[in-house]
Symmetry: D2
Subunit: 373 residues, 4 copies
């Protein structure tokens, strides 16, 4: 089972496979899906090669669905908080989160120009699968994005609602794939191929063990800044045999989703979201101007209280703020590892107009950090 | 020309037609389109009657497009600020506005479950009409919503991208229609039929005259609270011959867009947005829990500075904060009048399942406030 | 007992004494002290006449102490939220409130330039009276201010820590004085003498009755805008016999403190604070540039949870957000009445340099609104 | 001159003296005072030994004054922005900064329980030295704090207004002392003696060179987390011969002040402030619950525009947001170095009740990083 700490379901190596050590203790799958009830599904769209023809391709995109709860309770609100570290991006649903500290329904993450279809399709999917949830009420789904236009025909709007339904339908618990899958398909980080990444931490508190999982759609950073466990490796990775990357100007963004089964209140979940930049900093990121760095944290606990019932006092439990530091640490640790997983569990990709993004070289990783097992 | 202060282009009476007096001096059209360069377009969808069949109808919805600049400069950013008075709703694009104080591209407002199509279609429309704007960059359009599911088959998702293109293509300056048009088609306020409303004010400052215009998609409030120019008329309007309104639970929301040609900085535009609740208060609203009360203010001035040019200092001008009070007053006044215009320039509507929303009775208005001219 | 709805302990008429009717049902004292355990104390400093001599006077200032809990539990945190409607002022303690939704220790309100002494003296008073609270921890007291320099020698810094101790020691429950007392001594509103005001509302919910009380230090507005229960009376009150007010430029601010025994979470208390502008709007205020309009709401419930205990899950109860509207209404109603009480329970005042601020004329009030009883 | 990169005016070694290399190019003094017009002054209070007697001592505290402009223009507002990374602390003046993006008058930083005297004394000092600034207006000074109660008799309130005046009077440009001076006197970081630290960076842009300087009052972190240029040295520093530190529970906070002569608008300065956590992350901090991590950034440019003149358009210049990344990098780099300087330029300290905090051992630094020159 712990193989999943070293490789993805499809057998891609994860960061730990190269002997990179991290702080803290991961969960079974070292994934956001270690949080009970949380599911992840992907639709990955890769087709075509050569020059960009808007509407024809090449296509390098997709959509990721994160179900905060099983379908049977998907309309039950979760307590949540968010933080925009650098707001050059989009994450919907946040006005309600800021106001009353909740969201419900699945989260989707895709490319910048397809966020709308992902959002609305989520409502259609809920109406089809849980019709009572939207019979006489509205939904305000959380949908996020990062930009894949360097590799993908983003203005071709290739993502359809059928693709979104497929990701939602396919959401599962257990180990999940990483790298160029789902919404992360066309994404890069530190000018290496990146995309979807995840990690989790167990947090012991007062005789109990909670789980905190992180999922990132990672698409930020300049190569010269890359840092791995304190080693500023960006400069050495700029060597010619590595930097055949097609030059590019834009360098954005990162969406991070933090899930936990620990009972945390909305203001506490916002505090978790505000810890994401510390994890990004450990990889060398610092939130460049063009980056959309937006972070969401939610708790699966207290579901009855978050929903509320008219005329009844809601009863909640919460970790005291004075005891929250281990959850902060888990967040920072899991963000760092999730970003590196998105970089490691990957391969070179050529996209529209021949634009090329290399993977973080595995031989360099092995030479530099060794190899586990 | 000043006829437009009293009636809409289609001849519907506006609030001033009933002798209701307001503070301040309106612009030529008493509309957001008094701000030079600002255009408004609507697509209105009304079809079917009888019981709700999801996907069939009845349909009572639409979309409103607000172009902050003419098409030729639609990709030039505007300085902007926003405020969420009560965040039970959605307005996209706000992370960027909060971060760098700008947005670009048209604004759309529609029903809650069609916001995504309005947002993405805006990107397609820009790519088609101003392809250079999105050739190697992303767009983060502003799209807002209120809920029309009491009258409309909202889960039928009847709004298509063609409808959005039509509203964008049809955006014009000059006098604009109000009431049950565009995104406001299926909306109510104080349990009377409402929807789209607008008003403007001239603001004299230092020998110059600026214009500030407000557009609302108004869909909030309980009848008992309705206040018109200080008169608490909600109680008397609850009389049986008026209150044949179908009972309903939900009571939301209001999107307000403030445009001005006055040179105001992002933080100043946020200040304008924060004055919207004062105008709402004058009509009897107070931001109920279920309301999505989200407000955007933008300035058409300083376009070169807001866009910025690499390697060049941006040069801006700004009204001093010490002189901003007349702009605050204009905002409050225009918000109050725009809401009342949305209520007055309207007619009864029956929607899905026979749900009925009466118009604010014109005979009562005439008896209570008189009639102008 | 209900006499206190009509007059203050010292016999000053309150707004209801003039037949002004308000929405909602007030508590026994129609004061923030109707919330069990909340105490208010004042130190009022009035001395000297004639030209300003900095450090000599004339003195027209003071300090108000609001104890959120009895002394025996004064160090127990209260859940709280705040909103800065217009931030041209100071309220300390808000970083912690924003972060973890709590504050503890007494609140003080004074003039702008003496806020520091009020804040630090509060810590000394706590250290003297509840030494265990600060033996190995810090305190971050809430201290607020408005500007009284039109009447008071504000740069003379006449408020001492002894004055602050006296207000803290004198805090009591029961009916409390209003008008030119405590921190409100030198304050004006709509260019009439104002200062301290209070009101409360009973809120029935699910078979229980909660109390919500408001205290304002009111010091804002231009006379022409004054509105009383929808009547725009500002213009008529500008008549010469009334407007002998010494002309002045500055026009600021209002601090509002909302207390309730209803179990509300931090995000819900922030929502209450965001409703204060609606009550201000009903009196004709709109948050001018120079105004420091900062609002705090706190709940005395859930004291054990807000404090937290290491290693123990906190257990809380909360009103569902879906049921919060009556608390919003109570807030708006009590803010409106508290401001008018500050104006009505007052008398003319002449301060430094002969600067004169008239009271809202009681004969005009009687002629306009009648007189109760 | 470049000696000041290696040692303080009193000859204490700075981080660079131990061969620790940093990114970016520092200014002449590698201090916030490299920004033209910015001055720093300290009052340091060290007296007494042995058991704590509240009011008697031992005293280990002080106050730091940062003048954003020379005295002659000290009342001219500066554009500013702030960010509360973790709000378990106090920084006054921020409501105005949030509202209109300015502050004026000197900044003071001291211990938690003396913030009030520092704030009010600043007003007295301005009234005495620039009486026109407060003759008919109010001041809202920025005052910050961190907690020194582990070493200092904090409830003895030993800081007087005379001490604050002395720091203000003594503010100078040029090289400034670091470590246990001023407000930093009783502070610790990663359980080593810390306090005041500073650093600066030159930022080349479009043929010009701007300066960005950082000042920290550093008082945060757990030893096990200490990281120096990527080396996680916390564990090795926990060795017995080093960890004779008296055990303690509390672990807070950090105030950071960023100054620049680059023309940046309020929203851009807020963006700088939001980059401080990245610099903290590089030293191993992550914003523990008990930490008050509050950051202020200001620009000395555009002074006429920030002040504003009634009836005149303000004219400003600004770096485009698209060019802001080098300023982000400079901020992160200078924050990292300022914190390490506060740790390095220090010595062991014993305070109240014999509580002992060791300095970061210089022999360990030399053995680990070498020694410059």
């Amino acid at each position: 089972m712990t193989d999943f700490h070293f490789s993805t379901p499809l057998g891609r190596s994860r960061a730990r496979a190269f002997g990179i050590s991290f702080d803290g203790e991961p969960g079974t799958f070292n994934a956001i899906t270690d949080v009970p009830g949380v599911g992840v599904g992907y639709t990955t769209l890769i087709s075509g090669d050569g020059p960009l023809e808007v509407g024809r391709g090449p296509v390098r995109t997709g959509v990721t669905a994160i179900l905060p709860r099983p379908l049977s309770t998907i309309a039950d609100p979760c307590y949540a908080g968010f933080f925009s570290g650098n707001g050059n991006g989009e994450l919907t649903g946040i006005h309600l989160i800021e106001e009353v500290g909740v969201f419900s329904l699945p989260i989707t993450i895709t490319n910048t120009h397809s966020l709308g279809v992902a959002r609305d399709a989520t409502l259609k999917w809920v109406a089809a699968n849980r019709p009572e949830a939207l019979a006489s009420a509205w939904g305000l789904p959380v949908a996020g994005e990062t930009y894949d236009g360097f590799l993908n025909d983003i203005n071709g709007h290739h993502l359809t609602e059928a693709h979104v339904f497929a990701a939602l339908d396919g959401a599962t618990s257990g180990p999940i794939e990483e790298g160029s899958v789902g919404g992360g398909t066309g994404m890069s980080t530190f000018d290496f191929k990146a995309g979807s990444g995840t990690a989790s931490r167990r947090v012991a508190w007062a005789g109990k063990t909670f789980t905190l999982g992180v999922f990132v759609q990672s698409n930020f950073g300049e190569r010269r800044n890359l840092m791995i466990r304190g080693r500023r490796v960006g400069a050495e990775l700029a060597a010619p045999q590595i930097t055949q990357t097609t030059p590019r100007a834009e360098k954005s963004s990162i969406i991070a989703v933090i899930a936990t089964d620990a009972p945390l209140l909305p203001h506490q979940l916002k505090r978790l979201a505000r810890r994401v930049p510390f994890g990004i900093a450990w990889t060398g990121g610092l939130g460049y101007n063009s980056s959309g760095d937006i972070f969401l944290a939610f708790s699966t606990a207290n579901s009855q209280a978050a929903a509320g019932r008219a005329g009844q006092l809601a009863s909640l439990v919460a970790i005291p703020d004075g005891d929250i530091d281990p959850f902060f640490e888990a967040t920072v640790q899991a963000v760092e590892e999730a970003i590196l997983n998105a970089l490691v569990a990957n391969a070179d990709m050529t996209g529209r107009d021949g634009n090329f993004v290399p993977a973080l070289p595995h031989d360099w990783l092995a030479a530099t950090f060794g190899r586990a097992g």
